[in-house]
Amino acid sequence: MNVTLIYRNKTYEVPAGMTVRDAIKKVGLQPETVLAVVDGKLITDDTILKEEMKKVKLVAVISGGSPLPCRSATGAGRGGSLL
């Protein structure tokens, strides 16, 4: 019942049934800084994650660097590790 999120070279398992936006926040990223792609197609962040999606790629939108983890969600400081 899990969906795999792929962000750069990391993968995260999140339960199906939640929205893309909530999943992005759950893994400690800022929704504004990533785009969700399934089978090469963009999906909006209100989309409910379904088991059949299997893999959702999160594309970082910030050029010139990787978006830093959202501190409130992970407790990590600037440049800190995600998990």
Binding site: Q30, E32, K41, L42, I43, T44, A60, P67
Partner: protein, 323 residues
Amino acid sequence: MKCRKCGGTAVINMRQHKLALCADHFLEWMPEQCQRFIEKYHMFTPEDRILVAISGGKDSLSLWDILHRLGYQADGLYIGLGIDGGLSYSDESHRLAQQFADERGLKLVVVEVEQTYGATIPELAVISNRGRDKPCSVCGLNKRYIMNRAAYDGGYTVLATGHNLDDEAAVLMQNTMQWQGGYLVRQAPVLEANRPGLARKVKPLCRFYEREMAAYAIVRGIEYIYDECPHAVGSTTIWYKEILNQMEEGRPGAKLQFYLSFLQAKEQGLFAQKADDAELHACDKCGQPTSAPGECSFCRLWDKVRAVKGARVPAEAGMTSKQ
């Protein structure tokens, strides 16, 4: 979420505009908006010869694509910086820029810093002792110089860069935190060529969010360099982008409002023009404009390197182009 125009499945929701669009309508909307910004800020007309600064990233390639779709005469300029960072960063970005140009039959002007001047950017940073592990400041100096010179010498009437709203808002916040009056007064969608030797510079993407630019590149199928410059990781600009995105998360449109209200305040005279009254002279060596008497900072930098490495003289700067 449904497309506001046709009711089809939306691929992007732009919360700051309360607008969701499907792939087809998003690909129509972006050039329409860009054309609106080009006209609003009097950037250029179809008669202008535009040189687009191309990094191989999503913003510059998408800008070139949009200008091409809008029917403007736009050539690209790629500057080979010689950055490897373990991922052949410069080689890969050059390949993608060239591929983009070849596929569309566009002209890409290429300036390789090492071949033209005698050292790569990372070597230059070490030899000149300016930012040994962070060559960003010498890199910026070189890019600004080469872009200006290529546009001016090439007879282009305008130089376009792919700065998006997030880039502009981050720089604005940084300059505001330090009340950099001189920088604030110069930050604008158009920098006029108000001094001899300066190219006119424009930023047609300055009102698009970074998110929209990435979405455009993906939906349009543009292959761009996804990895960031290895030297940019942890930069101050990215830190400010993160802060602005936290504000955006709570209040959609916060970034856009910050930038647009700054432009409006500037127009209403919030910043005195005298903050930008530096006199420019022609550099004794290369003739490019400089604020210091004698040689410009670009020539002084390369003088240092030449003393160590025997680099070429900037006046011989050659450019290659491929159609």
